[in-house]
């Protein structure tokens, strides 16, 4: 049982790590949000994998569906923000978003 869990948690951790590294290093706003999506995939894999390994797959499935719905809302909001930012600054570079500081 631990082996199945290990398999999923290993890959979930890998996805989260990849996403975090992307967030730390990338500069394009859309790329950054893709990194968030990658983290999201890792988390949903973790949820379902945990449910699968612990014989709670039905509950886990319900949770993942809710998680996906939340993700959609979030993506819509974030992309709307990105488009608005592009209209203001004519750029997608995160380095231009450093006006607020101190």
């Amino acid at each position: 049982m631990t082996n199945t869990w290990y398999l999923y948690v290993f890959f979930a951790a890998a996805l989260v790590c990849a996403g975090l590294l992307g967030l730390l290093g990338k500069r394009n706003l859309i790329k950054l949000f893709i990194a968030i999506e990658v983290i999201g995939k890792g988390i949903s894999l973790l949820l379902l994998g945990t449910g699968f390994a612990k014989a709670n797959i039905l509950t886990a499935q319900a949770l993942v569906i809710t998680y996906i719905v939340i993700e959609v809302s979030l993506v819509a909001t974030a992309l709307a923000l990105i488009i608005n930012i592009y209209r203001h600054t004519k750029s997608l570079d995160i380095r231009n978003l450093a006006k607020l500081k101190g």
């Binding site: 968030i36 983290i39 809710t66």
Partner: protein, 493 residues
């Protein structure tokens, strides 16, 4: 019918865009404020009667069948509901005049009510995953509200807020998954019982760290705080008030304390970490606040510092410490809400947030100046205002629990707090009137009503603080001090 706290704002939010087509201003104003007033009256009048015989658990039936729509109301959640309704109502009254020039008021109120519904849902939730779900509801609404002015500042702040906050909530879900994997359940009562049975040490430490990142980020504890000083000042004033006054406390402090104290049980290690984080936030943010020229940014840093006090108080884990922390949470919600509202009045009247450009505004805006002074002195902890009592309780609790070093830090920080608030008050309102502002007028009616309401509450609670503590704070503190028994004992369905 405690589900009303979640459903009523949602329903009103759902019909508001339709109403907005009929009447652009009056009806949305009326509906939104009436909803919040209703919730406030319900929480304040019926709430205590409801929980008189212990926590209320509600399980609804759906089409004749019992479904798992479980909500629970105990002393702690009732206390938070009251705070949400109070500050929520004040901010929405303020919005009547303030949001006039932002346009699309119906849409604004709809988002606002969804955010309130999300916070209420979080407070009433009985299982870990719904905590996360409602946390996201409130968060998504707040991203849009921060950027509501569609200015560069607002958008930049909202984007950074979103990107950091999403990472935080990802870790919250990861921690939930760990608990789920261990106990096979998400319900507070079952999870708490399961964790106690398992006696899982180090793994729980990792789950706690994940929760700390997630909720610490929502509560803006140093070093997870960096989004707050951008997001709160950039939002429209009533939203700043709600974010600083409520959101960071509900989705940060409430969720964190509920999980750590009532589900995990406060271990000495957790207690030390919480107190450490609280103390660091308190000190660092106080210094940062001292260096600000932007009025709202100063207030934002002060929020971080004050949340540090709250976490420090709750982290002690003694009944007195918890009571002090919760009382400070409540007082800070009122006073910081008030200060952000008055800063909104000033910004609307003068068009600037720079303290150096202001000066002598007390002559032109006496009510705003007076209410601002009340808020500032309250947070700075000057008697007889409410903030003094909660800080005193925290400091006394620290000394009694044998943490004199933390007590000294708390005392020194409150001197620092007094310092920057006096600085703010002096630069903005006292001194010579800047000629630029000769034509400035007092804030419009509803804005003044909202600030005066909160200021009166600050003074009133300061004077009647023992009543407040015994009727509202003590039941909440009892729930937390009870540890995991509070949920395992009486929350089973």
């Amino acid at each position: 019918m405690i589900i009303l706290f979640v459903v009523l704002p949602l329903i009103v939010a759902g019909i508001l865009p339709l109403v907005g087509k009929v009447s652009r201003r009056v009806l949305p104003d009326l509906l939104a404020n009436a909803t919040l007033l209703g919730l406030l009256v319900y929480a304040a009048v019926a709430g205590r009667a409801l929980i008189a015989g212990g926590p209320v658990l509600q399980q609804l039936s759906w089409l004749g069948e019992a479904v798992n729509l479980r909500l629970a109301l105990d002393g702690f959640s009732l206390f938070m509901l009251l705070a949400i309704a109070l500050v929520g109502l004040a901010a929405s009254l303020f919005s009547i005049d303030y949001m006039e020039h932002y346009g699309a008021k119906a849409n604004y109120y709809a988002l606002y009510l969804v955010m309130i519904a999300g916070m209420n849902g979080l407070v009433l939730a009985t299982d870990l995953f719904s905590v996360y779900v409602f946390l996201e509801v409130a968060a998504i609404a707040s991203y849009a509200l921060v950027a509501y002015g569609l200015s560069h500042d607002g958008l930049e702040a909202a984007f950074k807020y979103l990107m950091l906050s999403v990472v935080g909530s990802a870790f919250i879900v990861a921690a939930i998954a760990v608990v789920f994997g261990m106990t096979g359940s998400l319900d507070f009562a079952a999870a708490a019982a399961g964790l106690q049975e398992l006696n899982a040490g180090p793994v729980l430490a990792i789950a706690s760290a994940f929760f700390l990142l997630g909720f610490g980020l929502k509560a803006a504890l140093v070093p997870f705080h960096a989004w707050l000083p951008d997001a709160h000042p950039s939002a429209p004033a009533p939203i700043s008030a709600v974010l600083s006054g409520l959101l960071i406390k509900v989705s940060g402090v409430y969720a964190m304390t509920r999980i750590f104290l009532n589900i995990f049980g406060l271990t000495p290690a957790l207690s030390t970490v919480l107190m450490g984080l609280g103390a660091i936030s308190m000190v660092i943010a106080a210094f940062l606040a001292l260096g600000q020229k932007d009025m709202k940014r100063m207030l934002a840093y002060s929020s971080i510092s004050q949340v540090g006090y709250v976490v420090l108080g709750i982290g002690i884990g003694t009944p007195l410490g918890i009571a002090g922390g919760l009382f400070h949470l409540f007082n800070h919600a009122l006073a910081k809400g008030l200060l952000f509202l008055t800063s909104g009045s000033v910004q609307q009247a003068t068009g600037t947030r720079n303290l150096d450009e202001m000066g002598g505004l007390a002559k032109r805006m006496p009510v705003t100046a007076a209410t601002n002074l009340v808020g500032a002195l309250s947070i700075a902890g000057v008697p007889p205002l409410n903030g003094f009592w909660s800080k005193l309780l925290i400091i006394v609790a620290l000394v009694q629990a044998g943490h004199p070093v933390f007590a000294v830090i708390a005392v020194l920080t409150s001197v620092l707090t007094l310092w920057y608030y006096l600085l703010m008050q002096r630069k903005a309102f006292f001194g010579k009137l800047n000629e630029k502002w000769a034509a400035v007028k007092e804030a419009p009616f509803w804005m003044t009503v909202a600030t005066v309401l909160l200021a009166l509450l600050c003074v009133g609670i300061g004077i009647l603080f023992s009543t407040t503590v015994s009727t509202w704070i003590q039941p909440a503190a009892d729930v937390l001090a009870d540890g995991i028994h509070a949920v395992t004992g009486s929350w089973g369905f």
